[in-house]
């Protein structure tokens, strides 16, 4: 029989041990439901070939930039609402809409330990605009006074940037540009370290230094990218993961096999293979995986090139619009993973014409319009980007248009050829898509239909009235007035002239292993690992 005192001691020790062992050791520690630590395994289907979002505009580079760098502003969660990222508070704008005043957070560190200052912001903007950078995203900072002069090489510093202090600066625009703050929230506007970028020179793209939640740990081209936790990240407690390991898996089927094998924690889901989507949805219902979905800012469309004689008559274009059974294609080819579009501007983005009736499938009306146009039969070429065989969608369009006397020839071009043809204004009609850079109607309408852009997008539109509407829209700062202007412009483009047929807005799907939490589906399709964690 043990003495009471010894028994007490044993009890205390035993309880203590039990208490310690009861803390779940799941590769990290638990804080309020969130489990810190661990490695997330993800995959990309293409090697980014360097990480410089000023130069490269691919989605892979944007996704990496989202986590390696920070921007002055960012989107709040799954919304298009802006919030400060590197800024201490939202910037103020002068009444005339020209002068933006910014204040940076204090003490923000780059991955190399240097402190972020206004000079880094100046350096970043000027680097983008210098001709020798070869940047593809100069448009982001172009509204700033003096930006065009820098791009043309007639100025070596940015007139519109004024440093107020180490953490305060102003940007003066050439003209009012209402969506300017959105330009500062996207990956091309990532803020670089002036010293690190200058020192790295040409090797910057292989060894970027930012202020983001993750730093580049290792980059083996065409093999993998390792992102390591930034322990000095300016948001306390974030990120949760110790590491993100991104493999480059060029074959999509292989990437999904790896996911099903459990070696990947996340995968995108293609929307054009309904059987696969159904299989994953069944597995998700059984708890094997979890599927997240969103409807990002995109529009899939049938675009006309007005330089193609066959479709120069409005009635013919309208007939084509009415002859396409969009819901049928959505249901059969995409398994219901898209939403029929009535506007070219994506749903949820202000400025879309609120009263848009949509081009509802109406074969009789389509045939009547062809009769009005005096066309009984005609040939039409549709360009397809990539693929070995005509896509299901193009084949469906071919069949539907044959019902109104249009014989469609599908021409397949590889990516590079397609892009060159489009840029030269030589692309015939095509089924394409636009994923918005920023949630603003200007990003849709100006990009495709302003006469300064319509050649490079192969729409062939050259309408001075429309140009004026779009130019004016950029200058209006009152939101209601601005949306009305763009609504008017969209009505002119889509319905009065049928220069483009909006088809659908595609949903975006990501499938995750059941223990992956905190993943946010963003409306831009550019995800961040900042808030992701793994349980177990």
């Amino acid at each position: 029989m043990l003495r009471k005192s010894r028994l007490s001691k044993l009890l205390i020790v035993g309880l203590s041990v039990a208490l310690i062992l009861s803390i779940p050791m799941v590769g990290g520690c638990k804080t309020g439901g969130v489990v810190k630590g661990g490695v997330l395994n993800d995959w990309f289907s293409e090697d980014p070939a360097g990480i410089d979002p000023q130069v490269d505009t691919t989605l892979m580079v944007y996704r990496l930039a989202r986590d390696i760098f920070s921007t002055l502003l960012r989107y709040q969660g799954a919304t298009f609402n802006l919030e400060p990222d590197l800024l201490a508070e939202m910037p103020t704008v002068s009444e005339d809409g020209l002068v933006y005043s910014f204040k940076l957070k204090s003490g923000v560190k780059f991955h190399d330990g240097a402190t972020l200052t206004s000079e880094d912001v100046r350096f970043t903007i000027e680097r983008m605009l210098k001709p020798e950078t070869g940047a593809g995203s100069g448009w982001v900072f172009e509204p700033i006074k003096g930006a065009v002069a820098m791009e043309e090489g007639t100025a070596t510093s940015l007139e519109g940037f004024e440093k107020v202090s180490e953490t305060e600066f102003t940007l003066t625009l050439e003209k009012p540009y209402a969506p300017f703050l959105h330009n500062l929230a996207i990956p091309p506007a990532s803020i670089y370290s002036a010293t690190a970028c200058t020192a790295a020179g040409d090797q910057w793209r292989m060894a970027p230094v930012g202020t983001g939640p993750f730093k580049l740990g290792e980059y083996l081209p065409d093999t993998h990218i390792r992102l390591a936790k930034n322990t000095d990240y300016f948001e306390p407690g974030l990120p949760y993961l110790n590491e993100v390991f991104i493999r480059i898996v060029p074959d999509d089927d292989t990437g999904r096999l790896e996911f099903e094998n459990g070696t990947m924690d996340a995968s995108f889901l293609p929307t054009d293979v309904p059987e696969d989507m159904q299989r994953y949805q069944d597995d998700a219902a059984a708890g094997t995986y979890q599927i997240l979905e969103s409807t990002p800012a995109n529009t899939y469309y049938f675009a006309f090139n007005l330089n193609v004689p066959a479709i120069e008559k409005l009635e013919v274009r309208q007939a084509i619009a009415y002859a396409i059974d969009k819901q049928k294609i959505i249901d059969t080819i995409f398994g219901g993973t898209a939403v029929e579009a009535v506007n070219f501007i994506s749903t949820g983005i202000p400025g879309a014409w609120a009263a848009a009736p949509g081009y509802t499938f109406d074969l009789a009306k389509a045939r009547s319009l062809m009769q009005e146009a005096g066309v009984t039969s005609m040939e039409l070429e549709i360009a397809q980007r990539g693929g070995d065989t005509p896509s299901d969608t193009n084949v469906a369009l071919q069949e539907m248009l044959s019902q109104i006397g249009i014989t469609v020839r599908i021409s397949i071009f590889d990516r590079a050829t397609f892009r060159e043809m489009r840029n030269q204004g030589n692309l015939p009609c095509n089924y394409g898509n636009w994923w918005a850079d920023i949630p603003d109607p200007d990003n849709y309408l100006y990009t495709y239909f302003h006469s300064s852009q319509s050649t490079v997008m192969s729409t062939g539109v050259n309408d001075p009235d429309l140009d004026q509407m779009l130019d004016e829209g950029r200058l209006i700062t009152d939101p209601a007035e601005r949306w009305a202007k763009y609504g008017e412009a969209e009505k002119k483009i889509v319905y009065d002239n049928c220069w483009i047929v909006p088809l659908w807005h595609m949903r975006d799907y990501v499938v995750l292993q059941p223990n992956v939490k905190g993943w946010t589906m963003t409306p831009t399709g550019v995800y961040s690992y900042r808030t992701v964690y793994k349980t177990k």
Binding site: D47, A49, G50, V55, D56, T57, T58, L59, P131, E132, G134, A135, G136, S137, G138, W139, E151, E152, D202, R205, L220, P221, D222, T223, R247, I248, V249, P250, D251, D253, T254, L257, E258, E260, N261, T263, F413, D414, R415, A416, T417, R419, E420, M421, N423, D437, S452, Q453, V456
Partner: protein, 306 residues
């Protein structure tokens, strides 16, 4: 021997120049702008022109070609438009990967091909013979892409014996080597069988058997060596093909080899990468053929390198 090799190398020079010229003409004639491939979303003409100038793409074509040729003679294949690093560095990183894959695949091909071919010849018209030849025909006919994915599903996903993709150690090379090796194995098997059948019908083989030699030395010492001459030709050609990039296999299994580098160069119109990998490929083919020719002399003393 030395004179033979020297003569072959000298003959190779105009061949290589011709290859580079044809490649240069093709990449400049085929539509597709490398600058537009970099600028996925935005491409105003001023930006495109600026970047083209920086990349030297606005210089006259003959100047561009001669610059490339002169630099290539010094071992400089230019800088990748996409990666912004010397093409030679990219080839140095990728070629060893492809060598490992190719030699592994060739090992598989030889073991399976020679083994099955010899067995089929020795057991002509037997069940083993028929099954082997039908199997060889099936493997030659099956798309490599299909074989690759099937092997991933069976051995990777279902049985979990081997990794599905990647390049992180020897176990990652097993499936790709098997997939890549079975097709040349089928060709080698068929050719070995027919070549062996021809040889084992020769008088000297009949004499060897009549003298009481055991079957193993008859086949492996006397027959196989002579039967290998046409097979060596195939091996040389197959090895050249394997070394210069097994694009589909590397793509499906995510192996960062020369084949993937070449296909990415074409996709993104990375002209220096295209020209560099094509020139390198041509050099490898030339060397592989020289080695094959030299090996004939060792296999058949009657062949003189003259």
């Amino acid at each position: 021997m030395f004179q033979f090799v020297l003569r072959r190398l000298l003959v190779a020079i105009p061949v290589l120049i011709g290859v580079t010229l044809i490649t240069f003409i093709l990449v400049n004639v085929v539509p597709g702008d490398p600058v537009l491939m970099m600028l996925e979303k935005r491409a105003d003409q001023a930006t495109i022109d600026r970047i083209r100038h920086q990349m030297g793409l606005d210089r006259p074509l003959p100047e561009q070609y001669l610059t490339f040729l002169v630099k290539a003679c010094k071992g400089d294949l230019g800088e990748s438009f996409r990666y912004k690093v010397p093409v030679t560095d990219l080839i140095k990183q990728r070629f060893p990967v492809t060598i490992k894959l190719a030699t592994s695949a060739m090992f598989v091909a030889l073991v399976i091909g020679l083994g099955v071919g010899i067995l089929s010849a020795v057991k002509q018209y037997s069940v083993v013979d028929h099954a082997s030849m039908v199997g060889a025909l099936a493997l030659v006919s099956a798309p490599i892409f299909w074989v690759a994915i099937l092997s991933q599903i069976v051995f990777g996903l279902n049985l979990k014996w081997l990794p599905i993709s990647g390049y992180y150690g020897i176990q990652y090379m097993v499936l790709p080597a098997l997939v890549l090796g079975v097709r040349p194995a089928a060709g080698i098997a068929r050719l070995t069988r027919s070549s062996m059948l021809e040889v084992i019908r020769q008088d000297y083989i009949r004499t060897a058997r009549a003298k009481g030699l055991a079957e193993r030395p008859v086949i492996f010492k006397h027959a196989l060596k002579n039967a290998l001459i046409p097979v060596v030709t195939i091996i040389g050609l197959e090895l050249g093909g394997l070394l210069t990039g097994s694009i589909l296999t590397e793509t499906v299994f995510g192996i960062p080899g020369l084949g993937r580098l070449a296909i990415e160069g074409i996709t993104y119109r990375d002209f220096p990468v295209i020209q560099g990998t094509v020139l390198f490929t041509a050099v490898v083919y030339v060397l592989a053929n020289i080695i094959v020719d030299i090996s004939y002399a060792f296999l058949d003393p009657r062949i003189r390198l003259s």
